[in-house]
């Protein structure tokens, strides 16, 4: 006899977490982002047992504070870029002030975890923001350059070309043609 099943991984994981935590009498709240809040501290032994039990289900405890810090670096960079005000600080000063770590430490950690330097990530983010504005607004390149704190349109264009391999004009033309195609197929 054969049956077919379909499962929702999210529910499965939550259920497993719940059962395993209850088994060890650990009061908790499970959030959807894969974050679990434990209502009391665990002893070394308990943590080891929990992590052993979970690993048989392919669930891993990220005791890695570093991964969490990398995420905070990214969030801080996004906040800084989205502030829409001229930046008085350089990225390095801004990050070390906000996060209370030396920039050298942050920068090494970031490169190790993401295979990219913080500087490159900032450029990638800015270019992504520029693309967003080109795709979804009527702003001219000059206006976009001003908004994103580029010293000139030429600077924006050359950074755009260097990062994507395409000129802003070509990028816009491709997006327009894609849209045209989508309308055609509808």
């Amino acid at each position: 006899m054969k049956i077919n099943v379909k499962f929702d991984l999210d529910i499965t994981c939550k259920k497993v977490l719940e059962e395993q935590l209850n088994k060890l009498d650990i009061p908790h709240t499970i959030y959807s982002s894969g974050e679990v809040e434990l209502k009391r501290m665990l002893s070394e032994e308990e943590l080891e047992e929990l992590s052993g039990n979970l690993s048989t289900y392919g669930i891993q405890i990220l005791n890695d504070q570093k991964i969490a810090l990398v995420q905070r670096i990214k969030n801080t960079i996004n906040e800084m870029l989205e502030a829409d005000t001229p930046q008085a600080h350089t990225v390095s000063i801004y990050l070390s002030e906000k996060l209370n770590y030396s920039y050298t430490y942050l920068s090494n950690l970031f490169s190790e975890a993401t295979y990219t330097s913080i500087e490159n990530f900032v450029i990638l983010r800015k270019v992504d923001h520029a693309k967003e504005l080109m795709a979804n607004t009527d702003l001219t390149l000059t206006e976009i350059a001003y908004r994103l704190n580029y010293s000139s349109v030429a600077h924006l264009s050359s950074q755009f070309k260097k990062t994507t391999g395409l000129t802003p004009t070509k990028f816009q033309r491709i997006l327009e043609k894609r849209r045209g195609k989508r309308i055609e197929t509808i």
Binding site: C13, E35, I61, A68, Y115, T116, K177, K181
Partner: protein
């Protein structure tokens, strides 16, 4: 106290390459093994093999597919169109990997939904560097909430 859970192995990039030339496949595999980003590479001999692979019932979909344009049975352009017409394959990034430098070919693949256009370099170090750059940027799109719809890269 807070703990975070993740599925084991989530930090590995799954990559597929479809290329009918055996030397090119070997070359590519050597280059990718030389890069520090952790990857799992699947090699397919032509476009039809790739599509069959992507349509397997329990397949772990690749994050990134490298696609040669000139292949027998089913060429790269046909694969590109089929992949982009299939909503289940929405999250797969497509890198065209070709010897053609024609601006028309390049634009045409982008318009049809390719994310990356990479010219086959003629020496190993250049290939290694190009693939590394593609993987780095792809990694950011994979982990940083950048807008995939606007992901275009020409190398």
């Amino acid at each position: 106290m807070k703990i975070q859970s993740a599925q084991t192995g989530a930090q590995i990039l799954n990559i597929a390459l479809a290329d009918d030339d055996e030397d090119d496949r070997q070359f590519f595999q050597d280059a990718i093994e030389d890069i520090s980003i952790k990857t799992k590479l699947s090699l397919l001999n032509d476009g039809q093999e790739l599509m069959d692979y992507l349509n397997l019932p329990n397949v772990v979909l690749p994050n990134l597919v490298f696609l040669d344009l000139n292949m027998p049975i089913k060429n790269g352009m046909q694969c590109l169109k089929e992949i982009r017409a299939n909503a289940d394959l929405d999250k797969v990034c497509i890198a065209i990997y070709s010897t053609s430098c024609s601006e028309n070919d390049i634009e045409d693949t982008f318009v049809n939904g390719a994310n990356i256009y990479l010219n086959k370099p003629n020496n190993f170090n250049k290939l290694r560097d190009s693939i590394e750059k593609v993987l780095q940027i792809n990694w950011q799109y994979h982990t940083s909430n950048l807008n995939r719809d606007n992901f275009l890269l020409r190398l």
